[in-house]
């Protein structure tokens, strides 16, 4: 087992060392030659533009076959970050990575740097759910475009842009409940209300005897549910960089 992993690792490192030759500032790594020339440059410039705007490197890595070669997609993404020192205007800075394993039908989304606060595990889950339909239909250009736009949408938002509180229909319902409650209370209290209580008429009150006896303790343990679709969440890279993440299959 350990031996096999070592092989895999060598193989992986070879893969990775190939990459930097292709140039600094590269954002989309299409190792499966999936995208046509013009689509590739179109998405690259979109990624470039949004990266500048949102101050985060948006990286997309497409691999032919990770799972089949025994490579874990999360580990692969971590190593890519360590290797390439991604980050907006600095090494190991803000980065969003989308890794796609074509044969393995797996996808991993990761957030690095300070902007992890905008790309939390649950928010990456939301983005993953958004792009999964396109993944299933093999529309990878749409996947990449959607990913870039979604990252852009999340950066700078203190809460998820999909949060129910930001939905107009939800705000309408809350406003409705508030108004109905207040008017209801006003109507109810129109004719006067009872203002006497225990305090009004109490002459003397005392506790003659009082016992609080501990009898027993019950303990229940529930496993904290990990998000379904085996999304592993974040972790720490070998290089010691913590990150958020969302993993799923398509």
């Amino acid at each position: 087992m350990v031996k096999k992993f070592k092989w895999v690792y060598l193989f992986l490192l070879l893969f990775l060392f190939q990459l930097p030759v292709q140039g600094e500032g590269k954002l989309i790594f299409d190792h499966a030659d999936l995208l046509l020339e013009d689509k590739y440059s179109e998405l690259s410039s979109l990624a470039e533009e949004i990266s500048q705007e949102s101050e985060i490197d948006i990286i997309v890595i497409i691999e032919e076959n990770l799972k089949g070669n025994g490579i874990d997609i999360e580990k692969y993404t971590q190593d890519a970050y360590d290797q390439y020192k991604f980050g907006y205007e600095k090494e190991y800075g803000n980065t969003a990575i989308l890794t796609i394993d074509l044969k393995g039908r797996e996808v991993y989304l990761a957030g690095f740097g300070d902007y992890q606060k905008y790309l939390t595990n649950s928010r990456l889950d939301e983005i993953r759910e958004d792009i999964t339909p396109f993944l299933s239909e093999n529309k990878f250009d749409l996947v990449i475009e959607q990913f870039i736009k979604e990252v852009d949408r999340h950066i700078g938002m203190p809460i998820s842009p999909n949060n129910i509180f930001l939905k107009t229909w939800f705000q309408l319902i809350i406003a409705l409940i508030i108004a109905a409650t207040i008017v209801g209370i006003m109507l109810f209290n129109m004719g006067g209300k009872v203002t006497v209580s225990h305090q009004t008429y109490v002459d003397n009150s005392r506790i003659k005897a009082k016992r609080d006896v501990f009898t027993h303790k019950t303990v229940t343990r529930t496993k904290i549910p990990k998000n379904d679709n085996n999304s592993g969440g974040g972790g720490v890279t070998s290089g010691g960089h913590s990150h958020t993440g969302s993993r799923g299959s398509f």
Binding site: Q171, V202, D212
Partner: protein
């Protein structure tokens, strides 16, 4: 038997004055302290339900009374008459809280209250359509109660924390026992069958510092009634009334738990004393769009109770205003959090 309080100076009728708290003569302005007056003590009690005819001692006209009336005014000469035989023996009130709010003050307070009606029709707020305003002493029973309370409950304290991959919920269970001794003093219950109990409960509280030993003179110029129910008949009502107070107190003695479930609650209420008292109210009849509305005012504190008319237009306006303003506030918060306008 009827009594009139007549002015020792000029012989005119005297009425109770809520401002001075004395009997005063409208003709010569003579004031007389009520405390010094000797009440005529009748030993004979009147015959139950006897709608007897009384004759006004001033003018000799027939004073028309309801079977419960104890004080009224002669419909012919307007003189204050007090039906003393209905205030004697078993029917003798022990104490009374005199009027402190005069008719004029009551009117002013009522008009002010109308103007503050946020959901009442416009006409209700401005028009002076008070048809009638009557000052009346309502019969009440006041109870001094002693309550022995024993409570058995099961309570829990819940602590949750995460340990590794687990969410741990630790529930500590407790047997809780309380033995309480609660005394209530002078809990009032109205003893008139004509008045709605719920409305009367809303008129409370009265300030008991003004409780005075009963004198017929306090009734001069007002309506008054005798009780329809005696203290025994009303006892279940007062017991029921203090039950909610007791529950309140019980909860206040059991603190620090996440949940409390009562298994046994034994409330043993004992009556220590009961007093027959008269408490003052102003009854206001109000006409609006051919509908009559009744309001009661606590004639000691000025608290007003009654169902005012509701303007659907105003209700909708309030609703719309609150709805749109809370929506705008929510929207602004959402925008600050980075949400889109739509």
């Amino acid at each position: 038997m009827l009594i009139h309080h007549t002015c020792p100076n000029c012989g005119a009728d005297m009425n109770f004055n809520s401002e001075t708290g004395m009997l005063s003569c409208d003709s010569c302005g003579h004031n007389q302290s009520v405390e010094q007056l000797e009440d005529i003590k009748l030993t004979q009690t009147f015959e139950q339900d006897d709608a007897r005819e009384y004759h006004c001692e001033n003018c000799g006209a027939v004073v028309v009374t309801d079977k419960d009336t104890t004080a009224t005014s002669c419909s012919f000469c307007g003189g204050a008459v007090i039906l003393v035989d209905r205030l004697s023996g078993e029917l003798a009130p022990v104490q009374v809280i005199p009027f402190t709010i005069s008719k004029e003050e009551a009117m002013q307070a009522f008009k002010k209250w109308c103007r503050n009606g946020r959901l009442t029709p416009k006409g209700f707020m401005t028009a002076n359509r008070v048809k009638n305003i009557t000052g009346m002493y309502v019969p009440f029973w006041m109870y001094d109660l002693n309550n022995d309370v024993e409570v058995h409950a099961k309570a829990t304290k819940v602590r949750t924390y995460t340990s590794g991959e687990y969410q741990v919920t630790e529930t500590s269970h407790y047997d809780v026992y309380r033995k309480l001794d609660i005394d209530y003093a002078k809990v009032p219950v109205d003893a008139s069958e004509k008045l709605d109990d719920q409305i009367m409960d809303k008129l409370e509280p009265y300030n008991y510092n003004d409780l005075k030993p009963f004198k017929t003179a306090y009734l001069a110029g007002y309506l008054a009634e005798k009780y329809n129910y005696n203290d025994e008949q009303l006892y279940p009502r007062v017991k029921n009334k203090v039950k909610s107070y007791i529950d309140n107190y019980i909860t206040s003695t059991i603190n620090g738990y996440t949940s409390v479930q009562y298994h046994q609650k034994n409330i043993n209420t004992k009556q220590k004393h009961s007093y027959y008292v008269l408490l003052p109210i102003w009854m206001i009849y109000y006409d609006l769009e051919k509908q009559e509305h009744n309001f009661l005012m606590n004639a000691q504190t000025g608290k007003i109770v009654g169902k005012p008319p509701v303007s659907m237009q105003k209700v909708s306006l309030w609703f719309l205003g609150l709805f749109s303003s809370s929506f705008i506030v929510l929207k602004i918060i959402a925008l600050l959090l980075g949400g889109a306008l739509w």
